[in-house]
């Protein structure tokens, strides 16, 4: 008997048009849990290292987390994994919403797509009945519109639909997969879906999902709910409001955008506008938001309200979450009214709300610098806002200059040449980042950013405060009920951390302490992503309801897999190393672990080198960031070590671990 998971995957070969329900190996659940962990394992086992992202061999996996669909609050993530056309590395992006639980109730843990369909199709999963259906009538339709049309055509208003828009169909390198209030946006997942010829996957499930030890599991759920209730009533003192609560950043609820608008960079991630926010703007933006946002909404089985329904007069309604509220506004140096309007069109097209505005701002900058000319962009409007609509329309159709820009700033700059490379300045591993530009290097943040396999700055925050508290008293108050720490030493690191002087950034936390802290933050991310629990209730905010002490109990009582903190830590490391191994096999090395040059004003090359050295050593990796044979062996990943040796990635006789 399988608990919490269904024990079945749906394997769909689009070239052949075949659909198989395949029982999975319970040992893989024990080794990797689910979600990102088992997705990575499948990619390792089945996709050749040389496979092109746009090829029949590449897989596109929609994996639910192990706890998705159980009564555990916020366990609703679908982890979509494949190889990215943009980074050419493993891509994984999580979407919340309602899709993953529905798939579990339909009787499957994952949908695995391989091959390519010659014609545009959509997939309809209705419990045991699974069909590949013609989608030619949906060609070119918006992502939100498509979901609605499919629900109508199936006469199933309760179906959950994940779909792509025109951008995915055109294989734009930053095309997203949209699902109502949520999306899996980063690194071109939507492009791979488009390449496979799949417009959407609709799911409806009405089966039971079983728990191994129900009474125990429900007691844990109730504790988590109580904690959330208490935590919502008692925001954390001494941090800015956006960091004080739980959930994803509450962008749909807040009006005060002083911090974002003055600390994040505008345009092509260049301009800090230190005195931007004033009463007049505050009033105008509040009016905009209040007049367009109808309701704050959540994902499945979660009391938070991180999303919003947005109705711009005269345009179809759409849903939004997080910081996409401001990305278009700031890239275009415009206002919120413009941002919410263009986001409607962008959501229907299905593009990533971080990359798309950045790519457009990059194009505008190149035009102003004379690198792109009227010859490259005939008819390019003079009006600033019009320019963004103009670019967006061409990118998602790969029309004219849009065909080049659709590859993202890195590849576009290479194609354009003439010094355009210098304008693609806000990337790591070829992927556009949030336009955050900071002063002093923070060592924890540096390491997570440089070495993160998610290749995404927005997801690296964690449970360790981002900056020290000014007084010892405040710090003591903070650590008093800090039950989430895996070890008491973390409290000491924080207590000793000062704003200025010897014990301040960049040299404190010490390199050693930094490795410890990064290890903790990463561990929580990898656990969340395997369990399908929202990072907003775990690895992302301060003092979250889920942590290393209660997670093992959830897994034991829910899935019936005996688990304790050490074993769970081991699983997280295994998954972390496997994702790294997938990227190493595709050529990622130390040289790639470079946050944007201008990310911090004050850089410390020697310290940065030392941080990377020590972190690699801490992880059991060699100097190039490659897991060693011994460390892979300890994690039960001998097959990875053997593959590395066969390919000459590791030497045959393991040299001493890097020092």
């Amino acid at each position: 008997m399988r608990y919490a998971e269904t024990g079945f995957n749906l394997e769909i070969d689009l070239s052949k048009g075949s659909i198989d329900r395949v029982e999975t190996d319970p040992r893989l659940t024990e080794e990797h849990l689910g979600g990102l962990g088992t997705n990575a394992r499948i990619l390792w086992d089945r996709v050749p290292a040389e496979a092109e992202p746009f090829s029949a061999e590449n897989l596109l996996i929609f994996g639910t987390g192990l706890l998705c669909g159980t009564p555990a609050t916020g366990a609703n993530r679908t982890v979509v994994s494949t190889f990215s056309p943009q980074t050419r590395l493993m891509a994984y992006s999580m979407m919340g919403g309602f899709w993953a639980p529905e798939l579990k109730y339909a009787g499957y843990d994952k949908v695995i797509l391989r091959g390519k369909s010659p014609d545009l199709v959509y997939i309809w999963i209705n419990n045991d009945k699974v069909e590949i259906r013609d989608a030619s009538h949906l060609k070119g339709k918006g992502a939100v519109e498509t979901a609605q049309l499919i629900r109508e055509e199936l006469k199933e208003p309760k179906a959950q639909v994940a779909s792509i828009g025109l951008a995915g169909e055109s294989k734009v390198y930053f095309a997203s997969i949209e699902q109502g209030r949520s999306s899996a946006s980063r690194a071109g997942l939507g492009a791979v879906m488009g390449d496979k010829g799949v417009k959407a996957i609709a799911v409806r499930g009405t089966k039971d999902l079983k728990l191994a030890r129900p009474a125990e599991f429900m007691a844990l759920c109730n504790e988590v709910l109580k904690y959330i209730e208490r935590r919502n009533e008692n925001p954390i003192q001494g941090v800015m409001p956006i960091l004080a609560g739980l959930g994803s950043p509450q962008e749909m609820a807040v009006h005060d955008e002083k911090w974002h608008t003055e600390n994040f960079a505008w345009g092509n991630a260049r301009l800090r506008r230190k005195d931007f926010w004033n009463d007049e703007i505050a009033k105008k933006w509040a009016e905009t938001l209040d007049s367009m946002r109808t309701r704050l909404i959540s994902c499945y089985n979660c009391p938070m309200k991180c999303g919003g329904t947005i109705t711009v007069p005269g345009l179809p309604t759409y849903m939004m979450k997080c910081f996409s509220k401001l990305t278009y506004t700031m890239a275009a140096m415009s206002d919120l009214d413009f941002g919410l309007k263009i986001a409607q069109r962008a959501t229907e097209y299905g593009v990533d709300g971080f990359s798309a505005p950045q790519v457009m701002a990059f194009a505008v900058e190149l035009y102003e610098a004379g690198i792109l000319t009227d010859q490259d962009m005939p008819g390019f409007p003079a009006d600033n806002e019009e320019r963004f609509y103009w670019l967006l329309d061409r990118i998602v159709r790969r029309e004219g200059i849009g065909d080049i820009l659709a590859n993202g700033t890195h590849w576009a700059a290479q194609q354009i040449g003439k010094g355009a490379e210098a304008y693609a300045h806000n990337n790591i591993k070829k992927h556009e980042q949030l336009p955050l530009k900071l002063g002093m290097l923070n060592p924890i943040y540096f390491l997570m950013y440089a070495t993160g396999e998610k290749i995404n700055i927005t997801q690296i925050e964690g449970q360790f405060p981002q900056s020290p508290f000014p007084t010892r008293e405040e710090r003591e108050a903070f650590v008093k009920d800090w039950i989430q720490v895996p070890d008491e030493k973390f409290k000491q690191y924080f207590l000793d951390w000062e704003l200025r002087g010897e014990k301040s950034i960049p040299f404190y936390p010490t390199v050693e302490a930094t490795c410890d802290i990064v290890d903790w933050q990463e561990r929580m991310h990898y656990i969340d992503d395997a369990l399908g629990v929202c990072a907003g209730l775990s690895s992302f905010p301060l003092k979250p309801p889920y942590h290393i002490h209660n997670y093992p109990k959830f897994i034991s009582a829910g899935a019936g897999i005996e688990m304790d903190e050490d074993r769970l830590t081991q699983v997280a490391r295994r998954n972390r190393n496997l994702v790294r191994a997938l990227n190493v096999r595709r050529g990622m090395r130390r040289k790639d672990e470079k946050p944007p040059e201008d990310h911090w004003k004050k850089r410390f090359p020697e310290l940065e080198e030392k941080l990377l050295n020590e972190y690699y050593k801490f992880r059991g990796w060699n100097k190039d960031g490659i897991p060693t044979k011994e460390s892979l062996h300890e994690l039960g990943l001998d097959f990875v070590g053997e593959d590395f040796i066969k390919r000459g990635i590791l030497p045959d006789k393991e040299s001493a671990p890097s020092s």
């Binding site: 009564p71 009405t206 089966k207």
Partner: protein
Amino acid sequence: MGEKKKKIVKTIKVDVDKCNGCRACEVICSAFHAAPKYSSNNPARSRIRVIHEPLKDIYIPVYAGEYTKAECTGRDKYVIDGKEYDECAFCRASCPSRDLFKEPDSGLPLKCDMCEDDPPQKEPLCVQWCLNKALIYEEREVEVDEEEEVKKEDMEIGLEALLDKYGLDKITETVARLSMSKKG
């Protein structure tokens, strides 16, 4: 007419404006009513369902009420605050016109029992799990006739539905056959 008598009725006040559409109420309801208790969950079995159309901003948590064998004639529309609702969106009936409030496998009707099932809960669990306070439990005192209406057991409601569907003869025949094979 019998004597009047005071009685406490359990009610739930539904504040649709506070609903965030999370469906936690469906999760906990279906888990509590699983057999054995909490052994599984499945919103399709829940006795509260959130009728929602996010793009129209419609969110209505509705409780399962009486089973009815025939659908009513109500197909009207209500416009409230500029939003158009189907009349059915507010109806509690387990009725042939829709798949709401029916066991997904057997089609047997479901009905909210205010979590009085064993062990009885002090407040319905959907209310306890709705941290947004869209569901508020209220006890109200009302006057009722002396004779208490007999409360039907789950099984009786189910049997009634089967009777409507298959007729008495077919049911007795099947029960007889099943009991034979169980004994044999």
